[in-house]
Amino acid sequence: MKRLAAFFALLFVVSTSFAQEKLPNVILKDINGNSVNLSELSNNGKPIVINFWATWCAPCKRELNTIHDLYEDWKEETGVKIYAISVDDQRTVDKVKPYTNAQGWEYEVLLDTNGDLKRAIGVNNVPFTLLLDGKGNIVWKHNNYNPGDENELYEKIVKLSAE
């Protein structure tokens, strides 16, 4: 037990002292079958939000639908771009395109069917949100969604885009 505790303590130190984290060199397909390398994402120096979700995850859909109603304003005010990364596996992945279109979402939707990005980032559960600054550094990570959490995210986006 002692070793376990020591190990976790060490982990914290290691994890907080390393260089700025960027997105890894992972290639995912978008819902139209095109390949996208995550390490090459850019939004002209404006912030990027990466949101992990799944068609079977109720809070995820609630979060993305809530932000959907605000997205126009967010884009206009901060220039933010949102990527919705579906972690649906083979059983439900084919529902992603019809679902997102039916919702009218304007996010870039990518498919992490094999969980490569999820593992590389260290995502435990969905929903999971990453916020990237204009240089592509991951500056904030958030797990879960409660109604109102979109305000906290938006405050952070505004702060970034003002920098």
Binding site: M1, R3, L4, F7, F8, L10, L11, F12, V14, S15, T16, S17, F18, A19, E21, P24, N25, N32, G33, N34, S35, N37, A54, W56, C57, A58, R62, D69, V87, D89, Q90, R91, T92, D94, K95, K97, P98, Y99, N101, A102, Q103, G104, N114, G115, R119, A120, G122, V123, N124, F128, K141, H142, N143, N144, N146, P147, G148, D149, N151, E152
Partner: protein
């Protein structure tokens, strides 16, 4: 021994980082990962038949650490079961390394040595994956190569053994799995396709497993090959895709040691435009259990993955009492989804639009034709999509309507009508058909910018198995940190009066950034616990659970 190595490894990384900390611009690479620890304390409860391990408490812990710099990557997963939680594979024990890899990764070439996960096509021929909440992990342990010689072409080769269990370290199964896969993305090769709105992707795989024949009575094939071909065409708002898999004869515990080839066909077609989506899926499989150990059972050592063509439900009475799982020995299944958003501003649509999701799925047994003079022990013969129409395995019709009335009120209504063949999918204590009607009302009300209250009322009505159920969920959240929840599942229609139990559970969680603390206190009913449509049986329990997760 293994954990000592890990300490040295971590200490070196730390030392390296520390000594270079001044040089801000030096590319030191990044460390990512997560930590997860779940402790459960068990109390006896004879009414719900709650189990108590001799230790009374159980603790599962995981720490994933990935390191990468420009080209190099390496990582480990430290696991600890002191002892393992009930419901997990009980042969997981001790603490140590359950997963480790090192490799090289550039835009055109990726090499991984050690553990890795991958999937070919739909996974019907090969898929290695981890579903930690369920204790499923068939990670490969060997070498993995991915090469992109030209934009739009991807080649994969792999060889390795599969993770089987954990006994203070990773323990692999006996068999060896080898595979190659090629994928071509025609739009990248011929950008002109983009201008006419066409995308074509095609792929093919070869996978083979080797396991020694130590059977004294049968002559078993030591090498078993499987082949797969697939094609996907996207044209503007339409798409159609298909995959065919053929598996050579593979006598196993699952199929009763018959020398018959197996096959799988999967077809998807869809159309979607803004506000509307439709999807049709069809599947026919026969004798497709494919494991690297022919005598393995449960979810052990599976080389492939056979997705169930049913909707993955989220409300607990619909999701966890009678969920359907693919029957690898033979199944024909169809599914249709229709999704529509009634436009906002219209009379029925309201201010924000009203969303409707309809889903219908059904699965049947295959038709097995007897073979005269079956001297090769093939067992039977079948044809793709040839089904036995009085052998319904599962049928589910459901409709979900959701509407945001204003900034404060959101309502979700769902109705399900299901028929479940408990003789084919053993999850209940009865056999035969279980017919259910389920209704859910889910209301979220935002009290203020940060405070919300959510209530769920669910009812399940059936004359079979344990009879009627009701569920009440209340959840009070204060964004962004606090959640207070209460759930009561009540088996009010059970034929046995003593079993008309309230399963009460209180929960509390605190979240900050990517850290979450959660405490649950109360009763959990025996049932099926599912993540993303893969399920495991969990025994009834009474007590409390504390969990901690953190990502970095």
């Amino acid at each position: 021994m293994k954990s000592v190595n890990l300490y040295i490894w971590a200490a070196c990384l730390f030392a390296a980082q520390f000594s270079y900390a001044q040089f801000d611009n030096l590319q030191l690479g990044t460390v990512t990962g997560n930590i997860e620890s779940t402790f459960q304390y068990y109390q006896p409860d004879s009414v719900i038949n709650a189990q108590v391990p001799p230790e009374k408490g159980a603790l599962n812990s995981f720490a994933n650490i990935n390191y990468r710099n420009s080209f190099f990557k390496a990582g480990v997963r430290f696991e600890s079961y002191l002892p393992v939680l009930l419901g997990y594979p009980q042969r997981f024990k001790g603490s140590g390394l359950g997963y480790r890899y090192a490799g090289y990764s550039s835009k055109s070439l990726e090499v991984t040595v050690g553990n890795f996960y991958d999937q070919f096509g739909s996974g019907m021929v090969f898929r290695s994956f981890e579903e930690r909440q369920l204790g499923i992990d068939n990670a490969m342990d060997g070498v993995h190569l991915k090469y992109r010689p030209y934009k739009g072409i991807e080649l994969t080769g792999l060889i390795g053994k599969q993770r089987f269990e954990f006994d203070s370290r990773l323990v692999d199964g006996q068999g060896i799995v080898r595979g190659i896969n090629g994928e071509v993305d025609f739009r990248s090769l011929f950008p002109v396709l983009d201008s006419i709105g066409l995308q074509i992707t095609a792929g093919g795989s070869f996978v083979s497993k080797f396991q020694k024949d130590q059977n004294t009575q049968l002559v078993l094939p030591e090498n078993v090959a499987a082949y797969s071909g697939r094609l996907k065409v996207d044209y503007k708002d339409f798409f159609i895709s298909g995959e065919y898999v053929l598996k050579e004869n593979d006598p196993s515990q699952d199929n009763g040691y018959i020398y018959k080839n197996g096959y799988g066909v999967l077809i998807n077609a869809g159309y979607s435009q803004k506000g509307f989506g439709i999807l049709f899926q069809a599947k026919s499989i026969d004798n497709m259990s494919f494991r690297s150990d022919r005598s393995a059972g449960l979810t052990d050592l599976q080389v492939n993955f056979l997705p169930a063509l049913t909707k993955t439900h989220t409300y607990n009475l619909a999701a966890t009492l009678y969920p359907y799982a693919t029957i690898p020995n033979g199944e024909i299944a169809y599914q249709t989804d229709v999704m529509y958003t009634i436009p906002k501003g219209s009379l029925i649509g309201g201010k924000y639009g009203t969303k409707i999701n309809m889903n219908f799925s059904t699965a049947y047994d295959i038709k097995r034709n007897t073979i005269e003079n079956d001297s090769f022990l093939r067992g039977y013969s079948s044809t793709p999509f040839g089904m036995n129409s009085d052998s319904l395995f599962f049928r589910d019709f459901n409709i979900e309507i959701s509407r945001k009335f204003n900034k404060k009120l959101f309502v979700n209504l769902v109705y399900y009508n299901q028929a479940f063949n408990a003789s084919a999918n053993i999850v209940a204590q009865t056999l035969g058909y279980i017919y259910t009607n389920i209704a859910v009302v889910d209301v979220t009300y935002k009290l203020s910018k940060k405070h919300s209250l959510r209530g769920e009322l669910q009812g399940l009505w059936t004359k079979q198995d344990k009879g009627d159920w009701a569920t009440i969920v209340l959840e009070y959240t204060i964004s962004p940190h606090w959640t207070f929840g209460f759930i009561d599942q009540w088996n009010y229609g059970n034929d046995l009066l003593a079993q008309r139990v309230h399963y009460l559970l209180g929960s509390f969680s605190y979240i900050t950034g990517s850290t979450r603390f959660m405490l649950n206190v109360g009763k959990q009913r025996a049932g099926i616990f599912c993540v993303g449509g893969i399920c495991r049986q969990v025994p009834a329990s009474n007590g409390f659970t504390f969990s901690f997760t953190h990502s970095f």
